[in-house]
Amino acid sequence: MTQSAKNFGDAEWDEARARFLERQSARHLAEDAGARTDDASLISATRKALAGEISPHELLKVRPGAALPFGVAAIARALMAQRSLAFSAVARAASTHVLGPREVGPYLVEFAEEQDAVFLMVSCRSQLAPKLFQGLTETGLFVEIELPDPVDDIVQTGIAKAAPIFEDLLTVLKDPGSSFFLI
């Protein structure tokens, strides 16, 4: 200790200062077991979703009514993509408020907005028919629709305006930044 200090120049002292701060800051971070946060439940749910203990859309429900950090939706999207037959992260033609057709992997997904309902059609193109449609906006708005069996390789379903999911579904479908998943 004494010997080292005697031979230290400015550069050595600067380096020693940096090394000391690293050690102390690591120690303080590791020792403070008491820190808790409003986000604790969100962080904990995220880790559970990543470990497969809860589903990604349960993660999206952790803060009902409150805005979800973009990053949480990104994690949910990655997990949902991993579990789906096919997914599309973003509409290829990113024009707003257009329910245009979207290529989702090998599938083609189309929508038709009628006066009292919105219809969803999935052309399976000889692929395994999906059982579930999921949509997720970048802000974490999530919708899920069970799909019926295909007829002539096309899955078709309609959601009535009176259905509770209707408004959310339209928001998801009209947002070109939404991700679609077929499961």
């Binding site: 701060l21 102390q24 120690r27 077991a33 986000d39 470990a51 990053g71 990104a74």
Partner: protein, 516 residues
């Protein structure tokens, strides 16, 4: 938490706590992850992120052949499961990039590039590092981190430049986080404080008394507990040593320089390094204390085993004696004070905070609860003997029945006798299962025993020279600590101590558990 000596923002403390929430008490893993995020590996803060990119690439490589490994396996699988899958894959698919060597997966992403040794404990640390990157700062870096993990998983190790670039991106995210959350100015003043203290002492010599002198130094308003003062000086000495060692390598110095000697030991001790270049030697320098192979440390490894070789009290003492580090093992009186009096100070803080206490304030201030040095010393020596016995039992099962070496034969014989009396709490289905469990704790036993041995030797040296009577030394300190603590926490000092408590000193439940 607003610590008196804060280094990180409150948000950083919450982010860090978040990744350990619900995982039980894993202090050693917390230390190793905090170390990786603050100090990096081998003196380079970017190395863990470089390692993270390579590990993600390795997962991608293995995933192409083994469908049990998914794209986000680093996050979805337990570390032991992922380690088992990756090492099995590496064993059956050796290549120029990946090979299994002495229980580690050696990954060399490109020709002539540095290598990374992947171990189970490294996977565990890197998993926490990536969790931190995902959740920190309100999930600010989650999207880019997820995309990078997915890209690496698809890429495997086929493009070393891309792997390196992803590593740099992880490191950049960590750098941005640090810029926002590290309280640089505040932290730097902690270093200046210690320098001023040492200057005030007239030399830079560190003695046992330096800790208590620093703790009560009038200018020291940052480190308000004996324990925090102890660790601040320990970190200061370690930082000086880090620099002296690095400088020893950078300039032509005497061969007796401790820096040279340490590096020589490092090179000679690890044969795998000799076949790699200098850069890989730096990459591969294991995090301090990581050699035991368990990210949780020797005490936790022993605590977690189905084989109950030590009592709870013995484990707690072992943890304390490992926690003091090399500084504490060199300054035994300073350590005896820490073990003896920190529980008293912690108890005072907590009882003032909560209003609950087994003893009255006045009784506490007499330090009647302090742990006598003789008691700690005797328990430490006893624990050392106990660990030797346990090691003999572990070894006895692995030594041949009739060894030709007389010393080996004696150890085996003693071990067999000890084993006959030992009831470790576990019941075995087969002799193989029993042997395997003993072998699992063997590295932890060796590590614990060797560190305890250093402490006990220092203790014996100290006791034989200046500490003729441990009881006398303890009584003298009890009066001194009682005076200091009364000044801070007694009737006259309560106002300031309350303010101090409000400012930070986190509750130390473990310290209170040590109280008699």
């Amino acid at each position: 938490m607003t610590s008196v000596a804060a280094f990180w923002s409150e948000q950083a403390h919450r982010d860090f706590a978040g990744i350990f929430d619900g995982e039980g008490d894993r202090p050693r893993l917390r230390e190793l992850v905090a170390d990786a995020l603050n100090r990096g590996w081998g003196g380079n803060r970017d190395k863990p992120f470089w390692a993270l990119a390579i590990l993600a690439g390795l997962i991608g490589e293995a995933r192409a052949r083994d469908r049990r490994i998914d794209e986000l396996a680093l996050l979805s699988q337990s570390s032991s499961r992922l380690w088992a899958l990756l090492s099995a894959w590496a064993a059956s698919n050796p290549s120029t990039r990946v090979k299994l060597d002495e229980g580690r997966i050696i990954v060399t992403p490109g020709e002539g590039s540095a290598s990374l040794a992947v171990t189970r404990s490294r996977i565990e640390i890197l998993r926490k590092v990536v969790e931190f990157l995902l959740v920190c700062d309100e999930f600010k870096f989650a999207q880019e981190t997820m995309s990078a993990l997915q890209a690496l998983s698809r890429l495997g190790l086929s493009d070393p430049a891309a792997v390196a670039e992803h590593g740099r991106r992880f490191a950049r995210a960590a750098y941005r986080y640090r810029t926002d959350h590290f309280l640089d100015g505040h932290a730097s003043s902690a270093f200046s404080l210690i320098l001023r203290f040492l200057q005030s002492q007239g030399d830079y010599e560190m003695r046992d008394d330096s800790v208590v002198d620093f703790w009560i130094w009038e200018e020291n308003e940052k480190y308000r507990t004996y324990k925090a003062s102890f660790h601040a000086l320990a970190d200061f000495v370690a930082a000086m040593r880090d620099v002296a060692e690095a400088r020893g390598l950078a300039h032509a110095v005497s061969i007796d320089d401790p820096g040279i000697e340490a590096r020589m030991r490092e090179i000679e001790g690890e044969s795998v390094f000799t076949i790699m270049d200098e850069a890989s030697l730096i990459h591969d320098a294991p995090a301090e204390g990581e050699r035991v192979g368990e990210a949780s440390g020797p005490a936790a490894a022993l605590r977690g085993s189905t084989l109950k070789v030590l009592s709870t009290a013995e484990l707690r003492l072992l943890e304390q004696l490992l926690e003091i580090g090399s500084f504490g093992r060199e300054h035994v009186l300073a350590s005896l004070r820490l073990i003896g009096f920190h529980p008293v100070q912690s108890g005072l803080s907590n009882s003032l905070r909560t209003g609950r206490s087994k003893l009255s304030l006045d009784e506490r201030l007499t330090c009647v609860e302090a742990i006598p040095y003789r008691q700690t010393a005797a328990r430490s020596v006893e624990l050392g003997h106990r660990l030797s016995e346990i090691l003999k039992m572990a070894l006895a099962q692995r030594l041949p029945a009739n060894p030709s070496d007389a010393r080996v034969a004696r150890i085996r014989e003693e071990g067999v006798l000890l084993l006959a009396d030992f009831r470790g709490g576990a019941r075995w289905k087969t002799a193989g299962a029993e042997l395997e469990t003993w072998m699992q704790i063997e590295p932890a036993l060796i590590e614990a025993q060797s560190q305890l041995d250093v402490f006990n030797r220092s203790l014996a040296r100290r006791a034989a020279t200046t500490l003729d009577d441990l009881d006398a030394a303890f009584e003298q300190d009890r009066v001194r600590f009682s005076g200091i603590l009364s000044e801070r926490y007694g009737a006259g000092g309560q106002a300031s101590s309350r303010a101090e408590i409000a400012q930070g000193a986190a509750p130390d439940r473990k310290a209170e558990e040590s109280l008699p």
